[in-house]
């Protein structure tokens, strides 16, 4: 069986080399998102959450294509990416429930998932914030003489903010080892892309910055991984950045309070017919990795694992009140426990 239940983010990441684990992880992401929605209804979640059901192939396709030493920046629609990169379901659900067991100890919440062990910087609540930061991470890698790269994951909404254009330009002129991944799920918050963006394909914007722009079927994890592999190899060779546009779809609204009534009738159904989990499961059945009829039991088993993680989260306490004054600066409580990205 798979090792989804491991508590080690690094082990979970390395397990992604396994085909069945790739499928399991996609199911896990969907199950966690479903469970978070329920936890919200049950009153365990504060503020808002931004779910990414329907985009699981992008998360897993990226995570399996880069090393745990590579640096990742990501926006607030990041539950799936965090899980794919290795953060445990308890780490994600716990953070969203504001518990000590959460990957940011309950200080961050849904929009701020983090795990340095697998290269994930705190996911940012500000559109576009991660792109320039990825450029700096790539500069640091180069300064250290390492062939590590940085990946910045963002949505189509980010393609219209200055940071996107500035970062692509900056990375291109310095030939930085960055892969810019745009998840084009057709909506920036509540607004359809045609109303916000005069081009259909975000990837075309790579032309302005003299870098490859690649359009990928984001519902197919293997196609995601294939495009990532090429961009990652180019970055590691020192040839510079790539912009990859993943055509995908988020099944839910922008955030908890958004019922997504602005979507045209039939659109969601059309995308559900190309569900990334179904596509990948069919392929694994063809490959003989998954038994015919093996998907439903795997889903049930994964849901149970997520349920166990949820139970563990609900047992976990809220952070100590002392955390309020911790980790503000080197002088404050908590002290320095600085992660060394270059120790491995």
């Amino acid at each position: 069986m798979t090792i989804s239940n491991s508590n080690s983010p690094l082990a979970r990441r390395e397990a992604l080399a396994n085909r069945l684990e790739q499928l399991t992880r996609m199911i896990e992401i969907r199950s966690v998102e479903d469970r978070i929605q329920k936890l919200f209804a049950e009153g365990h979640v504060r503020g808002s959450t931004h779910l990414a059901s329907g985009q699981e192939a992008v998360s897993v396709g990226i995570a399996r294509s880069i090393d745990p030493d590579d640096i990742v920046t990501c926006t607030y629609r990041g539950h799936g990416h965090a899980l794919a990169l290795g953060v445990t379901p308890a780490g994600v659900i716990g953070e969203i429930c504001g518990r000590v067991i959460g990957c940011a100890g309950g200080l961050g919440g849904s929009m701020h998932l983090v795990e340095p062990e697998v290269g994930l910087l705190p996911t940012a609540a500000i559109i576009g914030a991660g792109l320039p930061i990825a450029c700096g991470a790539a500069m640091a890698a180069r300064a250290r003489g390492k062939d590590r790269i940085a990946v910045s994951i963002f949505g189509d909404g980010s393609a219209n903010i200055g940071a996107f254009h500035e970062a692509l330009n900056f990375a291109a002129i310095r030939k930085l080892p960055v892969v810019f991944v745009c998840e084009n799920n057709l909506y920036g918050e509540y607004t359809r892309i045609q109303l916000s963006t005069p081009v259909e394909d975000i990837a075309i914007r790579a032309t302005s910055y003299n870098m490859p722009g690649v359009i990928v079927d984001g519902q197919d994890a293997d196609k995601v991984a294939e495009a990532m592999a090429a961009a990652v190899a180019r970055a590691r060779r020192g040839e510079g950045p790539t912009l990859i546009e993943m055509k995908t779809y988020r099944y839910s609204g922008h955030s908890r309070s958004d019922p997504a009534t602005y979507r045209p009738a039939g659109e969601l159904d059309a995308w559900l017919k190309r569900d990334p989990i179904d596509i990948f499961a069919s392929r694994l059945i063809e490959e003989g990795v998954l038994a015919a009829g093996g998907l439903e039991p795997l889903k049930a088993e994964t849901r149970e694992a997520v349920e166990r993680a949820t139970a563990e989260v609900l047992e976990s306490p809220a952070p100590d009140l002392g955390e309020i004054l911790s980790h503000i600066g080197a002088h404050s409580a908590g002290g320095d426990q600085r992660w060394n990205f270059w120790s491995r």
Binding site: I126, A129, I133, E166, S326, I328
Partner: protein, 335 residues
């Protein structure tokens, strides 16, 4: 002792820090090949190479953000904002990303970066190139803010900022760059962040200031009949309560002199703290000398009136000392 340009103190601080620590890099617009628009980075490129002394496009968001990412991943970036106003288009990266990195990772990820910027009025750069803007940063937990005031404080603060494990904003009054001063460099000299200094001892009033106003305060103290103690706050956040409190305990009067409009000025914080915590020491209400609540004017005639002069400051402090009542600012006298 050798006379140097104050801008040379910036250059020496950067050069020495880069020589001492290979993780220090410097980034900004026109700072490498051109040596900097104010010539504060002249020669750095030749000394340390293009991977460490980096000309950026005019993309503050990109290079401010790159500094954040580079800092998290082990470098110590020193970013130059040519004029502090330029950071307006990149503020997210400093106040929202850099300042919360340590918190969100519970101490695992930190951003030891420095933003240096020329700031302040007095040279006819007009209202979009003449502000101090320290209040943009002071309200953000996780950031430190300091202001240089001469060659020595420039060197001492900048070296400390670069060695600090957290993000620091250093505001350099541009008007001082082209001033010459006697100063002997000492590579080991540091001014700890959060520590003020008494620039001139006195017994009648404590005049707290910083930046280019330090010399205005000193000249005012010389001109005044009152015996004024001048404190250069140096670090605006976190500020040195102890030094100010002890001084006010001796003088019984507090005056703050800020090159900023009153709204959200650091003087309000200092005055409120003293009024609350040292009320018993006060012979007079705390008094703030500020700029008027208006953009910095371009015309030389207007700008000269707009900025506190030594004569005006002397008059204000003397009035407080002699009457124990705060005088009105010049723009309210006519009413």
């Amino acid at each position: 002792m050798a006379k140097i340009w104050i801008r040379q103190a910036v250059l020496r601080a950067l050069d020495d820090a880069m020589s001492d620590d290979p993780s220090v890099i410097v980034m900004g617009e026109d700072i490498a090949a051109a040596g900097g628009p104010f010539k504060v980075t002249e020669g750095l490129l030749a000394a340390h190479g293009p991977e460490r002394v980096i000309d950026t496009p005019i993309s503050e968001m990109a290079f401010m953000g790159a500094a954040v990412g580079a800092a998290v991943c082990g470098l110590k970036p020193v970013v130059e904002m040519m004029f502090i106003e330029f950071i307006g288009v990149a503020l997210d990266q400093l106040t929202t990303q850099a300042a919360t990195m340590r918190y969100l990772s519970r101490g695992k990820l930190t951003t030891p970066l420095v933003v240096r910027a020329s700031a302040g009025a007095g040279q006819g750069f007009g209202c979009q190139h003449s502000q101090m803007l320290d209040h943009w940063f002071r309200g953000t937990p996780g950031l430190k803010v300091a202001v240089t005031s001469n060659a020595r404080t420039t060197y001492g603060l900048l070296r400390s900022a670069i060695e600090d494990p957290d993000p620091v904003v250093i505001l350099e009054p541009r008007i001082l760059y082209a001033e010459r001063e006697e100063y002997e460099f000492d590579k080991s000299y540091r001014i700890p962040l959060g520590k003020a200094e008494i620039a001139r001892p006195g017994s009648d009033a404590t005049l707290v200031t910083c930046g280019a106003m330090r010399r205005v305060a000193l000249a005012a103290a010389e001109a005044s009949s009152a015996n004024i103690e001048v404190i250069d706050l140096l670090t605006l956040w976190p500020w040195d309560r102890k030094t100010v409190m002890e001084s006010v305990a001796r003088t019984g009067r507090l005056v703050t002199l800020e090159e900023a409009p009153p709204g959200s000025g650091w003087g309000g914080e200092v005055a409120a703290t003293i009024a609350t915590e040292a009320f018993g020491s006060l012979k007079a209400p705390p008094h703030r000398i500020t700029l008027p609540e208006a953009p910095v004017p371009y015309s030389g005639v207007l700008e000269a009136r707009f900025l506190p002069s030594p004569a005006y400051v002397a008059e204000q402090v003397s009035a407080l000392v002699s009457t124990n009542k705060p005088p009105l600012p010049w723009w309210r006298k006519a009413a």
